[in-house]
């Protein structure tokens, strides 16, 4: 539907070129850019926001940076350090540039303040990250007033713009990011009236669950938002919990978590998308269905920590260097089969390795569709190569070591009856 290029009479300048274009200047993209530029390549990092850094830039509080810089840092300082490291390695970071379309070649159609242009590269790394599920995706009923925000928007308002969208919101969700929302509220003098979780237990790992009590925010589990009330602004939230239905006066709602890949570019491109992860399909080198495109970070599967994305960015960058040297296996990849209804997704979606080059992803990552107890098993050619007894729940990823090269891999979850 979208026009194929700039309108007639507005010819884009002759295509610019780089050895590698990195799309997205978050932890994965910046970590990869530093490795690739450090290897002597011309690296162009395109970031659609006004500054590099990605999600951590919006997040004023700790803890970031242990793995990367050996100390605990706030999100903004961490983001600045990542960008600085990539620049020093020789990468060119260009903020305010939005990639509009991915084409074979690879060629990228972009648009910036000045207008549209085209950029060509030998290789492209996609690192566009993830976003939280919207109110619509969460199926919240009621009216549609202002003051219903994701954590990402709240943090941008508070930390980047020094603005406060509400004073007494309800926080929906108990993932790690939900507790980050509580810390952001505290920073801005916002006092949440309630934190509510739909499940029977807090989804984030200990010790995040201690935070509500420390911050004096009541926590209600097995509770859902039935409806939002208010015309221009939120006035109240109707909740349903174990004790029935009640109305809580509030002037906002923070809809947290339920991250999903920001994969609109991939969806509209020639690259294959995995309907389970909603991210691009990759092999264990981070290579997409078009071998000139790679992907790393939260674009692959929704949310992991900044440190995990940073590691993935570096590892996929090394695989991209191996690909340039002609060392990545080019044979037919083996798709990873998934068995058992408790598993929602797994990646890499196919395995191409022949044992000659170390993989970018040393483990199969998987996510659960629901809470279940049982055994996670990886088989290759019928033989079990790894397994783990697990109580699985959504929004917490599972890992098993990659199987040895050669055989058809199957990831299964054998549920206890």
């Amino acid at each position: 539907m979208r026009a194929d290029g700039p309108p007639a009479g507005c010819a884009a300048a002759a295509a610019e070129r780089a050895d590698v274009v990195v799309v997205g200047a978050g932890p994965a993209g910046l970590a990869a850019a530093a490795v690739l530029a450090g290897a002597g390549l011309s690296v162009l990092v395109l970031e659609r926001e006004g500054e590099p850094g990605g999600v951590p830039r919006h997040c004023g509080h700790s803890p970031y940076g242990m793995r990367e810089f050996g100390r605990v840092m706030g999100g903004r300082a961490y983001a600045a350090r990542l960008a600085e490291r990539a620049r020093r390695a020789g990468a060119q970071i260009r903020p305010g540039v939005a990639v509009v379309a991915l084409r074979p070649g690879p060629r990228l159609l972009v648009t910036a303040a000045g207008g549209p242009a085209e950029i060509a590269a030998d290789q492209v790394l996609l690192a566009t990250g993830a976003r939280e599920g919207s109110r619509a995706a969460r199926g919240l009923g009621g009216t549609r007033p202002g003051g219903v925000l994701n954590t990402g928007a709240l943090q941008g308002l508070v930390y980047l713009e020094r603005l406060r969208p509400f004073r007494r919101p309800v926080v929906l969700g108990t993932e790690l990011v939900s507790f980050s929302a509580l810390l952001t509220c505290r920073h801005a003098g916002i006092r949440p009236v309630l934190m509510v979780g739909e499940g029977p237990a807090v989804e984030a790992r200990w010790p995040a669950a201690l935070l509500p009590r420390l911050l004096g925010v009541p926590l209600r589990l097995s509770t859902r938002i039935e409806a939002i009330e208010g015309r221009d602004r939120v006035e109240a939230v109707i909740l349903r919990g174990p004790g029935g239905l009640w109305r809580e006066a509030a002037d906002g709602v923070v809809v947290t978590g339920r991250f999903r890949p920001e994969s609109a570019l991939v969806t509209a491109s020639h690259l294959r998308l995995d309907p389970r992860t909603r991210g691009p399909e990759v092999d264990e080198f981070g290579r997409c269905s078009d071998g000139a495109f790679f992907a790393a970070g939260n674009l692959l599967r929704g949310v992991e920590t900044a440190g995990t994305c940073w590691s993935e960015g570096r590892a996929v960058a090394r695989a991209m260097l191996a690909a340039r040297a002609g060392r990545l296996p080019e044979g037919v990849a083996r798709p990873l089969a998934i068995e058992g209804g408790a598993l929602a997704w797994a990646l890499p979606q196919r395995l191409a390795g022949d044992g000659t080059v170390p993989p970018a992803f040393p483990a199969i990552q998987a996510g659960a569709a629901r809470c279940a107890r049982g055994r996670l098993v990886l088989r290759a050619g019928g033989a079990e190569t790894a397994s783990a007894e697990r109580a699985v729940r959504p929004h917490r990823s599972l890992r098993l070591p990659l199987p040895p090269p050669g055989a058809e891999p199957v990831l299964a979850f054998e549920e206890e009856p």
Binding site: A98, T111, G139, G189, A227
Partner: protein, 467 residues
Amino acid sequence: MAEDRFDAAVIGAGVVGAAAARALALAGARVVVLEKAADILDGASKANSAILHTGFDAPPGSIESACLAEGYAEYRRIHARLGLPLLESGALVLAWTEEEEARLPALIEQAQLNGVSDVEPLGAAALRACEPGLGPGLRAGFRVPGEHLVDPWSAPLAYLHQAAAHGAVIRRACEVQGGTWDGALWRLETGGDPVQARVVVNAAGLWGDVVDERLLGRRRFAIRPRKGQFVVYDKTAFGLTRHILLPVPSATTKGVVVCRTVWGNLLVGPTAEDQDDRTTAVLDPAVLEALRRRGEAILPALSGHEPTAAYAGLRPATEDKDYRIGHDPDRAYVTLGGIRSTGLSAALGLAARLVRMLEGQGATQGWIPPADPVWPVLPNLAETAPRDWQRPGHGGIVCHCEMVTRREILAALEGSLGARTLGGLKRRTRVTMGRCQGFYCTPALARLTAGRLDPPLAEPLEADGAR
């Protein structure tokens, strides 16, 4: 005050009021538009299915049928000059049950009676050839080539811009609380200075009966709001159907439609739920889930797609299926009431009819139509033509999901018809209406709109309580 004396006062700045203001201004009247809400298009015109209807299924001989035919033709004539999109998609009316199938011949005959002579009966195989994605259980149907898709917000905004270019004054946050007719002139009480006008047009939509009561002392009809909920899917679902997919309509509603939008989305809706509340349209998750399931039955491939947004609107239904047009020539007063879901398509026809009614009564004497009308061109938001981001100097993208530029947002905040609320800004630019629903662009939007919107997106962090 001389400047507060007008030839015509239009009450209500929805699509009907906007089209009326345009037609009156182009007929040479000095027009004032009085809108109760903080911004235009805040009532029934806020939410609809964005279809330009031919009127094939309207009751033959009704006012609605006549206004649809005239409005449809007028939109086709003027849309390009105002920069308004028209996505020519055609519609398929689909029968999924034996009962629905039995009603097809009558519907086709009705279309003929309504002057829509190009409908084409099709069997299940032919329908599937048109739309390979249709679900199982399809029996038969027909094609209505003239049903198309439009931008329901840019169109009325364009009508108001054209009216304003010919001297119309648009007053927002200006509720008509009462008024008197002195035999020559209406005097309308609005809380501020009274507004004087020789002619009054009631286009108050969901409040049409209330305005009649305030000014005439009686209600010609009773509004019973009919809620419609919609589910919107992301751009990835746009390609699942080309045609507008219509059900066989029932006695009360056109039923659940699946169609594309000019912005590149796909939507499923509306429901038809009667209620008393005229201001609030509440989303019901269970109903939205049922809509999704209905959508997936019609287009099974939809099941792989996640909804981007849901919305709900209210249509000003009355006791009668037809529009409620009232004319009091003695008091130079016209009511354009009970304009339900077809208002977007019929508005230009209603407006032309209004001007003819006033001419017939002699109320237009002394009005001098402009010899050379101005045609303001609206910024294009549709994917059917080049967007602002494709042109140089747009200042950067603010909303990445809907590709809204900084230049578009700043322009929409400017001028006498500039956005005053976040909802108004969304309808003028589509900002935050995409898949992320403001996850990324809210901070930048709060900065760009600081001091311009009421209520604001956020307040500054002051010393109190902030650390």
